[in-house]
C-alpha cells in the first residue's frame, strides 16, 4: 500500500489529474473504495457483485481499509454494516438482485437511523425463475426505502458516484444512506476506458461527531440513549413524533439535492435539449440511447436525451422543465415493471406525450435500433391521429 494523502472530495473528483485505464466496472468500484478512506467493508458472495468485493477484500489485505469480513447472508451483512456505522465508521458494502431482497428490511432502517452508508447495488434479475443476468427491477422495489439512489451509466459513473456518494451522504444535514446502482454485467463486467484520480489521494476520514445523531461509542453524550426508540405508544403524541421523524428523513433527502448538484454536476444531464423528441433514461439504457441518437441523427430525425443520474431524490422539476417543449418522450428501461416510466409520468403533465418503453429484461440486451423503432412508431401514431383530427 502506497501512502495516501488526504484531499477534499471536490479536489479528488474534479481537480486532481486523472489517469486513463482500461478496466471493468467491478475494478472501477474497487478503485473508488481505495480512494474513499473506508474503515470497514463486509461482503457476501453473490453474482455479479462478487468480483468487486473480492477486490475490496484485497484492498483490506493491502491496508487501504481497516476491517473486512465475509458475513453469513445479506441480511446479516446489512445489519452488521448498520452496526459498524452506528459505531462511527465509514462503511462500504455491495449486493445484488436476490441479495438486495434478502436484506430488504434493513434499508429503511439505515435511512431512519440516518446512517451515511454507501452500498453498491449490481442490479440483476430476481427469482423466479432464477436469473443472474442484468435487469434493474430491484430499484423499483427500493424507491421508497428512504435511501438516496444514484444510477450509474458505466464504470466511470460507478467510480465517481461511489466517491460522490460519501461526500453527499456524510453532509450533516443529509446523513442518509446512498445506494449506487449499476446494471450488472452490462457495466460490472464490461472493460472500458476509465479515468482515475491518483491512487495516492484519499477522502478525509468520516467524522461521526458532525452527525445529526450521536455515535454509539460511550464517548458521545448523552449516556442514556437507544437507537432508535420505540416511538409506538398508542397515543397521538407518539404517532405524531413517529410521523415527524419520517418527515425529517424525507427532508434530509430534499437537502441532498444541493450537494448532488455539486458532486454529480446535476441530478440529470441533457443532450440536445431543444429536440421535440426526448429519450429519458437511466443506467446503461442511457448508453443504448446514445447510440440510438446517432442512428436517428443519421436519418435526419432530431432527438435529444435526458440522463437521470439521481433516482432518489427524483429531479421532478428539472425534468418537467427540460421536457416542457417536447411532444414525444420515450423511456427505455431494463425491467418489466417500467418503474422509471411511472416516475416520469407521475412527474410530468400531459402524459400522453410519454411512451414507457422499450422494456427489456431477463438479461436481454437492448438494441439501439429498438429505441429508434419505438420513437418512429410513436411518431407515426401521432401523425396518424393528427391527420385524422
Amino acid at each position: 500500500m502506497g501512502k495516501q494523502q488526504i484531499t477534499d472530495p471536490h479536489h479528488l473528483l474534479f481537480e486532481a489529474p486523472r489517469v486513463q485505464s482500461f478496466i471493468t466496472g467491478s475494478e472501477a468500484v474497487a478503485e473508488a473504495v481505495k480512494r474513499a478512506n473506508v474503515d470497514m467493508a463486509i461482503a457476501y458472495p453473490i453474482t455479479p457483485q462478487s468480483e468487486s468485493m473480492h477486490l475490496v477484500g484485497e484492498l483490506f489485505e493491502q491496508g487501504y481499509i481497516r476491517d473486512f469480513y465475509r458475513a453469513e447472508n445479506e441480511f446479516a451483512v446489512m445489519a452488521a454494516i448498520h452496526g459498524a456505522s452506528l459505531g462511527g465508521g465509514r462503511v462500504f458494502t455491495a449486493t445484488s438482485g436476490p441479495g438486495t431482497l434478502r436484506a430488504m428490511e434493513m434499508f429503511p432502517v439505515w435511512a431512519g437511523a440516518r446512517q451515511p452508508i454507501v452500498c453498491a447495488f449490481m442490479c440483476r434479475g430476481v427469482s423466479l425463475p432464477p436469473s443472474i443476468q442484468p435487469e434493474n427491477i430491484e430499484m423499483g422495489m427500493l424507491l421508497d426505502t428512504g435511501m438516496l439512489m444514484l444510477h450509474a451509466e458505466d464504470g466511470q459513473d460507478f467510480h465517481d458516484m461511489v466517491l460522490a456518494g460519501y461526500a453527499v451522504a456524510e453532509q450533516p444535514e443529509v446523513h442518509l444512506p446512498v445506494g449506487v446502482f449499476v446494471d450488472g454485467f452490462f457495466a460490472t463486467h464490461t472493460k472500458d476506458r476509465i479515468l482515475l484520480p491518483p491512487a495516492d489521494l484519499k477522502l478525509p476520514p468520516y467524522d461521526p461527531r458532525t452527525a445529526p445523531v450521536p455515535t454509539f461509542d460511550m464517548e458521545t453524550p448523552p449516556m442514556r440513549i437507544t437507537r432508535d426508540p420505540l416511538l409506538n405508544k398508542s397515543n397521538f403524541i407518539s404517532g405524531a413524533a413517529n410521523a415527524s421523524w419520517h418527515q425529517e428523513v424525507l427532508a434530509a433527502a430534499e437537502r441532498s439535492r444541493r450537494h448532488l448538484r455539486t458532486y454529480l454536476g446535476g441530478l440529470l444531464e441533457v443532450e440536445s435539449p431543444k429536440a421535440k423528441t426526448l429519450i429519458v433514461a437511466s443506467g446503461t439504457a442511457v448508453s443504448q440511447s446514445r447510440e440510438a441518437l446517432r442512428l436517428l441523427q443519421a436519418e435526419g430525425i432530431d432527438a435529444g436525451l435526458i440522463k437521470i443520474k439521481s433516482i432518489r431524490p427524483f429531479p421532478e422539476e428539472e425534468l418537467a422543465e427540460a421536457t416542457d417543449h417536447a411532444d414525444l418522450i420515450v423511456v427505455p428501461e431494463f425491467n418489466a415493471g417500467g418503474w422509471l416510466g411511472r416516475e416520469v409520468k407521475a412527474a410530468l403533465d400531459r402524459n400522453r406525450r410519454v411512451v414507457s418503453g422499450p422494456r427489456l429484461f431477463g438479461g436481454m440486451s437492448m438494441p439501439p435500433g429498438l429505441i429508434v423503432e419505438t420513437i418512429k412508431g410513436a411518431m407515426a401514431t401521432k401523425n396518424r391521429s393528427a391527420g385524422g383530427a
Binding site: 422499450p358 427489456l360 436481454m364 429498438l370 401514431t381
Partner: protein, 195 residues
C-alpha cells in the same frame, strides 16, 4: 395504441413481443375457441385447425408430458387418438418429454423444449405446430417465444382454459375433440381427393 385491435399472428414479431394477454386478448369461454385473438365457436375453432393442418407443408404435433406419459386413466386413449390424428394429417410427432431447459444442447431433430422451442422449429422447418398435453405455464411461455422468433403457425389443444399466445386455441379439449378432428381431416382430405 388501440389494444383491442391486437391480432395474434405468426411472427417473427419484434425483438421481444408482448404476451397476448397483456394486449387485451382474453381466453375463450366454455363452448368457444380463439382464432388469432378473436373468439369463435368451438366448432369453428376445430374447422380452422383442420384447414391449417391440411394446408401446412410441414405440420408437427408437440405432445407434452401429460400425454406422452401414461400416468393416469384416460391418457392411453388420448395418446392413441392423437397418433391417429397425426397419421390422418400426415404430420410428424416431436415430443416434449419434460420442461427443464436442455443444456448444453438439445437434439432439435427429435425433441422440443418449452424454453427454446424455436431450435426445433427452425431445424425441422415446421410451419404449423400443435401443442397438446403441455402444462399451461410452459405452453404459454413456449407459444410466446415461437411467435417472437419464427413464422410458425401455432395451435394449442388445451384441456384447461386455452392459450392466448397460440394462433388457434381450444379449451376443455380432450378425447372427443381429437376424434372429431380426425374425422374432419379425413372428410376434408376425401373432399380434396374427390375434386
Amino acid at each position: 395504441m388501440n389494444e383491442m385491435s391486437y391480432k395474434v399472428l405468426p411472427g417473427p414479431e419484434g425483438f421481444l413481443p408482448p404476451a397476448a394477454a397483456s394486449m387485451g386478448i382474453e381466453l375463450p369461454e366454455v363452448g368457444e375457441a380463439l382464432v388469432e385473438g378473436g373468439v369463435v365457436s368451438a366448432q369453428q375453432g376445430l374447422e380452422k385447425i383442420v384447414e391449417k393442418l391440411i394446408s401446412a407443408k410441414n405440420p408437427v404435433f408437440f405432445p407434452g408430458p401429460l400425454i406422452l406419459w401414461n400416468w393416469k386413466d384416460g391418457v392411453a386413449e388420448k395418446a392413441a387418438a392423437l397418433k391417429e390424428l397425426a397419421e390422418a394429417v400426415g404430420a410428424k410427432i416431436i415430443p416434449m418429454p419434460d420442461y427443464r431447459p436442455k443444456y448444453p444442447m438439445i437434439n432439435p431433430a427429435i425433441e422440443v423444449n418449452p424454453n427454446h422451442p424455436n431450435l426445433t422449429i427452425w431445424h425441422n422447418k415446421i410451419d404449423v405446430c400443435v401443442f397438446i398435453g403441455v402444462h399451461c405455464h410452459y405452453a404459454n411461455v413456449a407459444l410466446k417465444i415461437i411467435r417472437g422468433g419464427t413464422s410458425c403457425y401455432t395451435i394449442a389443444f388445451c384441456g384447461e382454459v386455452g392459450h392466448e399466445d397460440a394462433m388457434i386455441s381450444l379449451r376443455g379439449a380432450g378425447l372427443s375433440e381429437l376424434k372429431k378432428l380426425t374425422e374432419l381431416v379425413k372428410k376434408r382430405k376425401g373432399e380434396v381427393k374427390g375434386d
